[in-house]
Amino acid sequence: MDNTTMVAAVQRHVFNALAWTLYGFLLAPLVCIAIVSFNYEPVQSFPPTTWSFRWYASALQNAAFVNAATASGILALCATLVATPLGVMAAMGLWRSQWRGKPFLEAFFISPIIVPGLVTGISLLVALAAIDVREATIRLLIGHVLIVMPYVVRTTMASLSQLDPSLQEAAETLGASSWKAFFLIILPLIRPGVVAGMVFGFILSFDDVNVSLFLVDARTVTLPISIMSYLQYSFDPSVAAISTMLIALTFAATVILERWFGLKRLFAGH
């Protein structure tokens, strides 16, 4: 008996040690970036000898990064604003339909997540070039709507599935128009789901590389891509400074999302 409790205890300790190592593994790169960003020296070295904010200043003065960040922000915002109505409408349609093909439609709306981003980007590049659209802003907007929409559909569906479908009918029976019933009753009830999908879609759009890689041009570059090209030929802590700012922002958003909606239901791709 003693023996088995011993074995069980050892098993438990090994398991816990492994789990904590993995938590460390997940956090290590993010923590390292933060440390490097405060290092005064231009080459990364551990541990930093002198601490400073100078890389934050140099990152914020770097016109390429600032422009790219602005472009990414505007792009993610526009994509979210276009994709949200589309996604909510689709989710409402799916919610109300009893059609046999419903699972297929659902899969069809989620398919932009399943098709590799790189393939989506290339397809848009080639097809749009074939009809002579070579404007990077248009290409990027279309690509990013495809990134955001599936998440809005999914989170809205998750919220809707907890509602009683007869709510809408009850409102309509009592004389409300379909529109009124939706805006006054359904929408307030599913707001957390819609907002979660929007926030999450925004973050993914802002961070996207795979889809955008082929759609950017020399004048319009998104932030992750400008960071990536910067990393391919130079290596100074200003990238770490930008990354730290982004990590701080997304962490804040994550905590808010967790409070608001529960992260587990968001099931991400990247």
Partner: protein, 308 residues
């Protein structure tokens, strides 16, 4: 995929006035805009690219010509170099997926077994990488694994090694980077299916004298399998099509199919041959997803669609 032929709602809501005939159709109309967007912006362009693969290479042109040929496919199939690239892509993805599955189960179990009050913070730790740009994460690994990075500095500081040990720009670095990127995506579905297990089942096994390991391997693991299968599908197909991590951590010629695709489209402008590579990437990753879909039936299907 027109939704105009949707059947009328059969679910009858008790009481109330007879419903107008246009209502079901009205709701089906809500599906149209999203269908049009996905169709016009994804299905049509993708079909165009796949068609382009059957045109003879003409660098810089994207117009489809009537001149159909399988020359691009023959070139792909008869060149050993391309086979090596596909082989390496599959190999790296397989190793990443296997490690992800094992470690993902460990993490999911550890979250599953903690008190609900502390679960939130662990979930945030596990999910946080997802919400940080992949470029940033890859850069983080460059900082950890680089020549004056964390690990080499530590080892040199401890006097264990004299000169930096090359940890970057090899297959190991790519696997570490991919593992970090995809581990959360494995944990989520596994955790979700663990949470659906009735806690009295493992307890009953324990009462009947099963050891911890037996319970874990013979009861918990089979019950968590739908989530695991979904996780494996997702991680494998995303590893196949990942670009950033191999490009930044595997060095300039990491030999993954995605870097090759990038070269064809951006450097050599041979879009016709590039389309063949895209078709191959899509075929490989989609075949796997399709297999999972049909092999593991409806439960996994809903899993993948709802929780990808």
């Amino acid at each position: 995929m027109s939704s105009a032929d949707a059947m009328p709602l059969t679910a009858d809501v008790g009481g109330g006035a007879p419903r107008s005939r246009w209502l079901p159709g009205g709701y089906a109309l809500l599906l149209v805009p999203a269908c049009v967007v996905v169709g016009a912006c994804l299905v049509v362009p993708l079909s165009y690219v796949l068609a382009l693969g059957f045109n003879p290479p003409r660098p810089g042109t994207v117009e489809l010509s009537d001149n159909l040929t399988v020359a691009n496919y023959l070139r792909f199939l008869t060149t050993p170099f391309y086979w090596r690239v596909v082989g390496k892509t599959i190999y790296l993805s397989t190793v990443t997926t296997a490690l992800c599955a094992i470690l993902g189960i460990v993490l999911a179990c550890s979250i599953w077994r903690t008190k609900p009050s502390r679960r939130g913070i662990l979930l945030i730790i596990v999910l946080s990488p997802l919400l940080v740009s992949i470029v940033t994460r890859t850069f983080g690994w460059m900082v950890v694994l680089g020549d004056n990075g964390l690990i080499n500095s530590l080892l040199m500081g401890l006097g264990l090694i004299r000169s930096p040990y090359p940890l970057m720009f090899n297959d190991g670095a790519v696997i570490v980077g991919l593992l970090h990127v995809f581990l959360p995506l494995m944990v989520i579905p596994v955790l979700a299916s663990l949470e659906r297990i009735d806690p009295s089942v493992p307890q009953a096994a324990s009462t009947l004298g099963a050891g911890q390991l037996t319970i874990a391997l013979r009861i918990v693991l089979p019950l968590a399998s739908p989530g695991l299968v979904a996780g494996i599908t997702i991680v494998f197909s995303l590893s196949m099509s990942s670009y950033v991590t191999p490009a930044l951590m595997g060095g300039p010629d990491s030999g993954m199919i995605t870097t090759l695709i990038y070269q064809q489209f951006v450097v050599t402008f041979n879009w016709q041959f590039g389309s063949v590579l895209v078709a191959m990437l899509l075929a490989t990753s989609m075949t796997l997803v399709g297999l999972m879909f049909y092999e593991f039936g409806r439960r996994t299907r809903t899993w993948i669609i709802r929780r990808w």
